[in-house]
Symmetry: C2
Subunit: 462 residues, 2 copies
């Protein structure tokens, strides 16, 4: 096993890029050795292409020297998608941060894959448009990473996910071939849909270099509702009622009883009424004149057994005040245990109450704190099992709880990951959901796009 | 070249299905020998599976005897997608017309691929939901055909296309393997997106047997606007203005000057004001209370240079009266010439006026009647070159005009087909739009899914 990069490969990379964009020093490699997971693996080098053509050159050098490439945006993924493999080179797209074209009149933008997600949104907003997908990391995540993982966020309940905003891509396959997919129009059915095959393929099929993205007009107004419930089930039943009437909110976020307990222990959200054991944060957007009608419909659907309090805000400060509890959660969760095993399961919304009851049961029977919150309008829950990695017994119980959780999610008609992806973390569980024949087809596709198995080889497919 | 089916294959098919669902007689084969194109090719047999398992059995027999299979819904396609190849068997999914599951509370339905598109919509409407994709043939088209071609229709401008409503599929690959893709939730990122790879693959990769489809709540109210303009360019500029403000109509249909001329020659649409040379049909839908605001915004955008008349209707009869001109078009077009060469090009909406001017120029320089109408909100025009197939000189000019049209569409940043697909008709033009490397990848995918080249082998890929 080599532990340094072949000097001839370094020479070739420096010739293709320049010496400042081929980094092999330990401190640079250290920075790129991990993503948001606790795992860590030092790459042999980090390279920073400026263009599609440079990315082609990197791929060709990787083929020549048999070196594994790990595509990386901001490294903000949750499942190890950008985690280096042993003896790999990280291809960081950070320097490919140019907007290539912007056509506000046709509502699309063409960007290099290293552009920050929020930057696309910001540019669009200057022309009355916005980019709907809003992963939690959008302030620093790169669009290439969003495309690789088919990222989503709270707005997905109304606006859909990254996949729904990609009109076309440019990419380099593992064979070094340039692939151009899709079109610049809102309709187009010429040839196989390679665009959506690459979206969500987690850097295992091709290196995405450019994307044509669809934009939408900014909704004129927005309002936020914070609704408190006496129990998890009461809140979940309200979610089901909301998703069963005509007004689709642009966010429908849930916090369970353990989440409320965590923030209250941390001294936050002192304004929640006594007896609050679950919380929904609901947002509506649209024309200013139409917003009152939407709010009324949502209010009606949210009202029911166990509802303790409903607050509405539409001005900036009041909205921020309502979000305080939710914002306090990330910090509060960290105080419970050193490590959160961060899951991302989805069930049909009508089964959400059953899922949450099952999670309560798991927490009790395995004696583990489990904090659940997330995008309830899509039935997408982030289930966080809080553990101390030094405690073997606890880690063992967490593993069992996880397996039971996944079985229950599938029994409820759900899927094991809604927006985080598979990466290395979920890889052992893929066969619980995808059958052997369908996996066989995916492996063939992988082989076809990446015949030398050089693109993120230890991810996604088991 | 065989012209009758191997008797052993017939025996095997009868054993797998039953004798009434394996038809080899000439009159049945004749019925299944064509689709909406003028071409014709007699299949060796037509088989009618009832289930996924029977479809697997048919595929296995096809592999054993080396017989080409042509998947067919209602045969309502425009590009020869369901046209038999020589010595092929047509697999008609007409008998696979069962709704397998319906979950209105979670807004999805699971159907066999032979269910009529409009029937899915009808069932959904009983529960306050609807199925948005609305191809012109939806009253008789089968959902399997819609999936194969990624069908769309007028509502695509607001609601998207078939692809956007498919959550998961069950299918049989050309290797006889059962493939299960996707999920039953509105989010899910487990594995490669095989669902959208199959949607639009025109029966060349797998036989789709079952689909899980997303439904939406029915908009409470709807209104129609008919707007007359002095010229094609005036109407196209209005389209661009409409698609540049926040209210997205649920239909934005265009009829050009040749269309108006055709219906007026046929004696229809006598109520259009004098000097009308282009027409827009615009629909808005939403909450009843919100509709006046939408209409006002659309009216403002539609008003501009060359607008001669704007009529609004919201009750059923008045709406029908406004649509008279558009409904008269199909019949009127048929009186111009024996054959229409029916194209389906798309350009970014801001380039629509340029496209229409180019078409006017083509009609003049090639001395051909060209009637254009279609889904202007998506920049998707059905360009119909009217010809007499017996007139060789005219056919030659039409061919040249077509090539020039396609070049111009691509130069404007467009695509050669928005919703009809490639089939056999557009196959000679694929290389104008898709580069060699990307086509190479598509061919590899075809080979991987269909290693014996038995599924619709003479379609889509050149």
């Amino acid at each position: 096993m080599t532990t340094v990069l072949n000097p001839l490969a370094v020479t070739a990379l420096v010739a293709a890029l320049d010496e400042h964009r081929v980094m092999t020093d330990n401190s640079t490699c250290e920075i790129y050795s991990h993503d948001e997971t606790p795992r860590h693996c030092l790459p042999l080098a980090v390279v920073f292409p400026h263009s599609h053509d440079e990315t082609v050159a990197i791929m060709q050098i990787a083929i020549e020297f048999g070196i594994v490439l790990i595509a990386r945006g901001a490294g903000s993924g949750n499942v190890g998608g950008a985690l280096p493999s042993p003896n790999s080179i990280v291809v960081s797209f950070e320097c490919m941060n140019q907007v290539l074209e912007f056509h506000p009149e046709d509502r699309y933008i063409v960007v290099q894959s290293g552009v920050v997600t929020a930057e696309i949104d910001r540019i669009a907003r200057e022309h009355g448009l916005f980019y709907p997908p809003d992963p939690g990391s959008s302030a620093y995540s790169r669009i290439g990473g969003n495309l690789a993982m088919n990222a989503a966020g709270p707005r997905a309940v109304k606006y859909g996910v990254t996949r729904d905003y990609v009109m076309g891509l440019r990419a380099v396959t593992g064979a070094g071939t340039t692939l151009t997919s899709g079109c610049r129009t809102t309709k187009g059915v010429m040839g196989y849909d390679l665009t959506r095959l690459l979206v969500g393929s987690e850097g295992t099929l091709a290196l995405i270099t450019e994307a044509t993205l669809k934009l939408l007009p900014i909704p004129e107004a927005r309002a936020t509702l914070r609704v408190c419930y006496a129990s998890n089930s009461d809140a979940c039943r309200a979610v089901s009622r909301v998703m069963n009437q005509a007004v689709i909110p642009c966010a429908l976020e849930f916090m369970d009883s353990f989440s409320i307990q965590a923030i209250q222990t941390a001294g936050a959200a002192t304004d929640l009424p006594k007896g609050t054991h679950a919380l929904l944060m609901v947002e509506a957007d649209g024309a200013a004149d139409d917003l009152p009608r939407q709010i009324l419909a949502l209010q009606t659907a949210l009202t029911g057994a166990g509802m303790l309090d409903l607050q509405i805000a539409s001005d900036k400060n009041a909205v921020a005040a309502l979000w305080t509890a939710r914002k306090a959660l990330s910090h509060a969760v960290k105080t419970i245990a050193p490590l959160k095993i961060n899951e991302d399961v989805v069930v049909p919304v009508s089964r959400l109450a059953e899922l949450v009851i099952h999670i309560e049961h798991l927490a009790q029977s395995y004696q583990l704190p489990i904090v659940s919150f997330g995008h309830a309008g899509n039935g997408n829950l982030h289930v966080n099992i809080m553990v101390d990695p030094a405690n073997n017994d606890q880690m063992q119980r967490a593993k069992q709880a996880l397996h039971e959780l996944f079985s229950q999610v599938l029994a409820l008609g759900g899927t094991l990951t809604g927006e985080h992806g598979v990466g290395s973390e979920k890889r052992p569980y893929v066969t619980m959901e995808i059958d052997t024949a369908s996996l066989g087809i995916m492996r063939q596709i992988k082989y076809q796009f990446d015949p030398h198995n050089l693109l993120n080889p230890e991810k996604l497919l088991p």
